[in-house]
Symmetry: C2
């Protein structure tokens, strides 16, 4: 390493150390806003978070920092792997933000913040018109950000997906969703026409928050969640956030008449948390621990939620405990009935409550809508109508108000391009599951409660190098294969074909 | 206002605006640490808070800021009242911190932070030796800070009390506590020898957290707590913190076998919160909303807790609701029995659980110990022994371990001089209660649930000018009299004389 590279690296690390403090402060404040901040305090707290976020932005926009980062990037072949990843990431950020000033960035933050507040309010009042002006403003910023890029990708939507899933393209997504449509739409019809009866009555029996909390803790514990390094609380909208090396947070929500909802929500968020808390700790020190893509992240959370959590083996593992914690609800429910219930397929309106089979339909709808919206083929005003039409077309159900339609998810309040990563996650984990099962007797380990062995495999094969690689390269390293949704679609056909006794 | 003063004021306000953002961020992070941060994440989060706190310190140590502040101070007679208070406060801070560099300040913060963490650990393990080195370090800093003052007060302890209660002196405190000792120690003996039987059995009956939470919400509601501008959650150690103009937070703790404990804890913290949330909102904009002294604050919290909350009128108001929320506990308990139970006098070990009568004994002990400690008459090593001896001497009880002895309170982990303010609060509110009762029929208002009328009086007479005045001047403005503990001691003698049927 030349003296120049060495000095540049020192300066970069020193600056990033400071930036990380501001970033963590801002994360804690955002967590506070989502968990406890009183309504009238939200606006001010949003300003405080935006101020700190902009401190990060400003630090990384300093000429000296950019120069140092570019020195590293020019010499990245001489650097160790972690530092090379950092250099590439800095270069990418530099290019992406080149034409955005701190003033513009602060302005953007305020619009995103307001948009979040408006969304909360609009959803509560079930009135899209209270959110539409903010959504228009967000869309305008998002388009403007692309226009400000020195090097734009030719296909407009590629610029968005690239933010969350580098290496993925609109073309690949189109092919993926085409296959989903082709194979899953006709299969859904078959399921709906199947004679198979699945008991669902007990799913709606009343449970207490206290029992649900006990269940949530139990699930996190058997998953290997480390309560010494992680917190757990409740919020309206469950989420996971990594504050620091030893500080991960998951939240959940309890519905008195949907105990299964909270169980799978906590397994999902717990999956995100495991990924963060068992990624290499030293990646925090090399400032690359945020390099995981959203598709990678969703692949892990949905792996635990569905591939593990909704398997017969897992139901076998937890059945006695479910009976113990919800004795009245479960009094007349067999293990098989519980398994079938958690896999009951139903065309429904709410993504987060969707079963494993119809989940991708919800993503497909959002993907198609946001692409059309960004391409200018539909307007902000038309969005609720188009949303409802697509639900009718794909799932045969129609929202009766905006809260169960276009307002159900928060994501668009902070931009576009995120949704497809959920569907990618499903396809990624199907591919690595198929490799894992060659090496481990997954069902046996799960049914006997050795989820730690699954976690070990994930740590070694899935988590260890996720920060270092773009998702496509990472997936190829794990599986030896290029991205291919076939594994996922085959799995769905097999699992739900058996469950619904299709021919 | 001259151009120079105008410009100075502008610069001061601009700087304080920025400092306030850092300060609020730091408060939110401290709140997070006390409520949800996982154990292993505490150290890092403490660093983040210290970094932000030091940003405030550094901003206010800038030459230009100090110069501008001194210009204001030199012209304070030409300024409006709020700005003059700000100028005085800035001058005082300047003098106090003159010889402390940002580096030293950051170093100090780290020691205080570590000391907090060590205290938590030591208390949990009931082992003072785990806290002693940190406490020594804190004491050393505190002494060093006094040594660094250009203008020291002659009596060492005066420099400490001045931080929390400007205008108060060691001499006045000594006189106050002498009177307490003189009148209360013999009276406690009489109470202990009284034939009066107070029922306490039901106080220890088991209740659920859920019922206690319902009770806490009810109490906050009838007090006039504004949930739109304030949050409420649980922590190991109850506290109140004001994050911003529209963001106040109180916490409480539920013991399954001490439902009265949490009721009075929430009224106490709720009192602090009312003071903050109904202080003039514009004081936030003039940056003087932090000028309340601790004695003022404790006077209000203890006014609601004791003068209102433990009165017959208040018990009359809440009795039906207490029966409704704790039906089994209260089945065989009369209104009079509840009143007597919440006023049951018992020499005990834990300050926060002490009854109204013995409370000042706990403060007296801490005051005497910290004075002796700072004066070098007792050492850190001797402290637990001396603590236990004093409890035996004044109250006739002796802690069986450090957790219920010297480790019970967190305060010394962040310095000395705070404790006496609790006792001052008791004396202040007795003085203004005596004025209030000339103007309002307090018992009638309380028993009929018109606590809003009490709040209105407090707002007008106690809260409105608290930020503007030192406690002694403020008290004289309210009552027309100088500080005098007689009102408080008379009140105790009268109330507990009647309750215990003393001659």
């Amino acid at each position: 390493m030349t003296e120049e590279v060495k000095k540049s690296l020192e300066f970069v690390k020193k600056t990033l150390e400071e930036a990380m403090i501001y970033g963590q402060a801002s994360s804690i404040i955002n967590f506070d806003m989502e968990t406890i901040c009183p309504p009238a305090g939200m606006e001010r707290e949003g300003e405080v978070a935006a101020f700190l976020g902009n401190k990060v932005f400003t630090l990384l926009k300093q000429d000296e920092f950019i120069k140092a980062g570019e020195v590293l990037y020019a010499h990245k072949d001489e650097l160790d792997e972690e530092t090379a990843v950092l250099a590439t990431s800095l270069h990418k950020d530099y290019i992406r933000n080149k034409n955005i000033t701190p003033e513009m960035n602060l302005e953007f933050s305020k619009i995103y913040n307001k948009s979040y507040v408006d969304w909360v309010n609009a959803k509560q009042k079930k009135d899209y018109s209270l959110f539409a002006p903010s959504l228009q403003a967000v869309k305008d910023i998002e388009i403007k950000k692309v226009e400000l890029l020195d090097e734009k990708k030719e296909v407009l939507y590629d610029n968005f997906i690239d933010m969350y899933e580098p290496g993925m393209t609109t073309k690949m997504l189109d092919e993926y969703f085409d296959k989903c449509r082709e194979r899953l739409v006709p299969m859904l019809k078959k399921i709906q026409n199947s004679k198979k009866k699945i008991r669902t009555d007990f799913m709606f029996r009343t449970v207490t928050d206290e029992a649900q909390q006990k269940m949530a803790r139990y699930l996190l514990e058997i998953m290997g969640y480390d309560f010494n390094r992680a917190a757990f609380t409740t919020t309206e909208h469950p989420f996971t956030t990594g504050i620091g090396k030893n500080d991960e947070r998951v939240t959940t929500h309890y519905y008195p008449n949907m105990f299964i909802s909270s169980m799978y929500s906590i397994i999902h968020e717990g999956g995100h948390a495991l990924f963060d808390m068992y990624s290499p700790a030293e990646h925090w020190d090399s400032f690359i621990e945020t390099e995981k893509s959203m598709g990678q992240h969703e692949s892990v959370s949905r792996f635990y939620e569905n591939r593990i959590g909704r398997s017969e083996a897992f139901i076998h593992l937890i059945y006695d405990k479910v009976k113990e914690i919800f004795p009245e609800v479960m009094a007349d429910v067999s293990e098989r009935e519980l398994y079938e219930a958690v896999n009951y397929v139903e065309a429904s309106l709410i993504r987060t409550e969707a079963d494993e089979f119809t989940y991708n339909f919800h993503i497909m709808i959002r993907y198609e809508l946001e692409k059309e919206l960004l391409n200018g083929n539909i307007t902000i005003e038309e969005l609720p109508q188009k949303w409802n039409d697509k639900y009718e077309e794909y799932l045969g159900v129609r929202p009766s108000n905006d809260a169960e339609g276009v307002l159900q998810d928060v994501h668009w309040a902070s931009g576009f391009g995120y949704f497809p990563t959920y569907a990618l996650g499903n396809a990624y984990n199907a591919m690595y599951y198929n490799r894992m099962k060659n090496e481990l007797d997954i069902d046996k380990l799960v049914s006997e409660g050795h989820i730690d062995k699954i976690n070990e495999w994930m740590k070694e094969n899935v988590w260890k190098r996720a920060d270092l690689l773009d998702a496509d390269v990472w997936l190829k390293e794990i599986t030896g294969r290029d991205f291919d949704p076939t594994d996922f679609l085959d799995y769905l056909e097999d699992k739900f074909g058996k469950l619904y006794e299709l021919d």
